[in-house]
Symmetry: C2
Subunit: 357 residues, 2 copies
Amino acid sequence: MTAPRSSGPALAVVGATGAVGSVLLQILSQRADVWGDIRLIASPRSAGRVLAVRGEETEVIALTEDAFDGFGKGDIVLFLTPAEVSARWAPVVTARGAVVVDQSAAFREDPEVPLVVPEVNGHAVRIRPRGIVAGPDCVTAAMIATLGALHAEYGLADLAVSSYQAASAAGRAGSEALRRQLSLVAGSTLGEQTGDVRRAVGEDTGPFAAPLALNVVPWSGELREGGWSSHELAVRAETRRILGLESLPIAVTCVQVPVVTGHSLTVRARFEREVDAGHAREILEAAPGVVLVDDPEAGEFPTPADAAGTDPAWVGRVRGSLDDSRSLEFFVCADNLRKGAALNATQISELIAGEFA
Amino acid sequence: MTAPRSSGPALAVVGATGAVGSVLLQILSQRADVWGDIRLIASPRSAGRVLAVRGEETEVIALTEDAFDGFGKGDIVLFLTPAEVSARWAPVVTARGAVVVDQSAAFREDPEVPLVVPEVNGHAVRIRPRGIVAGPDCVTAAMIATLGALHAEYGLADLAVSSYQAASAAGRAGSEALRRQLSLVAGSTLGEQTGDVRRAVGEDTGPFAAPLALNVVPWSGELREGGWSSHELAVRAETRRILGLESLPIAVTCVQVPVVTGHSLTVRARFEREVDAGHAREILEAAPGVVLVDDPEAGEFPTPADAAGTDPAWVGRVRGSLDDSRSLEFFVCADNLRKGAALNATQISELIAGEFA
C-alpha cells in the first residue's frame, strides 16, 4: 500500500485487476489528483499483485471486510465487479458511511440509486438515499451525451438505435476470445463464398453466443419476454432514466462485432421540434464529452478504432431526415472501457469527492 | 467455348471472372439447367482463361462487339460489371434484340428499366421498354424479401435500417484488403485500450474509407447533399421502387464491418395496421426466399457467417415493439454475392427465359 496522503478523500477500487480496472488506473494517472489514499482491492486470487497507481507501486489486497478498514464518511469505494459481487459488498461499504460508485448492473434499476452520466445528469449524484451511485451500461454510455445535448434543444420524441459492440465489453475473456478466433480463421482456407467460420472457430466461442471473428452476433445478455435480450431492455431503461423521459419510445437492437475496443451506434432520433442538421452539429460540437467528426468526403467520420483509448464520444454522419423535418440520423463511437466504464465511474467519483472538498 | 446445345435460350455472362462471376458459375451448376449455349465474357485482360460451366471447360472471350455474335431475340446477356461498362455495352446487346440483365447501378434509377427481386416484384420483369432489367444493390437485396412479405400483410408505413456490410461487396479487392489488414493487425501489439488499428494498417485501406480490420466504417459510396452517402440514397430509392411505395419514409445508415461475405441489417418497420410478432414470424416463415431462425435462447439467430454460401435471406430476432403496437424489429442476413448479386440476377434471367419457353 502507498503511504497515507494528507488530503482528499480515500478511494478504493474493487476489481482493480480486470480489464476496466487497468484502464481506471491509467485514467487516475492522467487526471487531476483529488484523492488521498488509493486502495486496490480484488478477488483473493489476484491479491498480492503489485500495480502502479499515480506512479507508486501498490499492492492489491483481497476483498474481505477488513479491506475497507479506515473507510468512512467522505470516502468512496468504486466497484468494477460483476453484479453479484457489487450486490454482496456494497452494503458493507455503505454501512461504514462511505459512498459506493458501482459500474455493474446490480443497482441500475433501483429507484433509490441514481444512474449517472455526469455530462447529462450530474446533479442526480447528490440524491442517493442508499449511499450508492450507479454508472450505466457501456452501450448506453456511448450515446447518452449526444442524446442529452440534442434533447435539451429539441425535445426527444422517439429513438431507434442499433449497436456495433466491441468484444472487450465482455472483459479480458471477450478480447481474448476474439483474438483466438481471428487466428483460427486466419489459418483456415475460408473463401469468399463459404460459411465456414463456425467450422474454423469450433464450439469454443468464449463469452459470445456464436463465433465473432469475421461475423456479427445479434445477441448479448439473456432472453426476456417477447424475444428481447436483457441487454436491449437495459439500454432502453437506462436511456429513459438518465434523460428523465420515462415513457420515451425506444427501438434497440444490440449486435456484437469483431472489434476489440470501441462501441458504435447508429441513431435515428425524432424530436418534438423541427431540427436543422447544421444547428444540430453546432450543439454536438459544443456538448461536453462529445467530439464532432463530420466531413465524410475528407474521410472524417467516427470509427471505433479512433475512439478507442480516448475519453469522448465521437459523433459524425449527422444528417437531417429526408422525410421528416423533426428527425436526425447520426453515428457515434466511444471507448467502452473508458466512457463506457472506467472514465464515467471516475467522473462520478470526482463529483462526489467535490461535495466533501 | 462449349459445343452448341440444341434447346433453351443462350446466356452470356459479362464479367465472368470476378467475385460475383465465379459465384454465378457455381449457381448455374446447382440450378435446373434452362440454358442453351452459355458464353463467358470478360475484359481483354481476363480473356483466354478457362472456367468450368456445367462441368464443361469454357474459354472466356474478350468483351468486343463480336463477343455477342449470334445473340438475338430470346437470348439473355447478364452483366456483372461496373456501372460504366454496363452503360457502354448494354445498348450493343439490346440493339441485337437480346435482353440485358444488369447487376450494376447503371440503370437502377431508370424508370424504363424495371428493378426486380423475383420474390417481391417478379411480374415487373415483363415490362422492359429498353430491353433491360436491373437487379438491386446487395444491401437492398438482403432485406427486401422480408419487407415485401410483411408489407403485403400489414402495409409498410416507416422504415429505419442500419447495415452491417461485408467486404466482398467491394469485389475481390474488398475481401483481399480485409484479409491483408487482419494479418497486419494480428502481427501488431494492439492492446485492449489502444486505438492503433490505423497505425498497424497504414494508408493502404483498399476500397474502404478507413481500416476495416477490428473496426467498423460508417461510409460507403460518394458524398451527396446533406451528408448522405450515395449508397444510403440508393438503398432508400431501390427499396421504395421494388415495394412500389414511392414516398415511404426510410432512415438508413450504411456501415461496413470486418466480415468477408454476408450482409446483415437491423430493421425497425412501422406498419399501417397492428402487428403481432407471432403472426409476423409465420409470415416470414412462409415467405419465398426467406428462412426464419428465431430461438435466441437455443443460440438460433441469423449471422452472416451462416448465411454466406446460402441462397435465402435469414431472418430472426423478430420482436414486437414495446412502445407501439404497429412496429416490429428484426435482424436479417443474406449472402451479398448470391442473393445480393449472382443469385438474384440468375433468378431474373430464368424468369425472362421462361417467357420464351
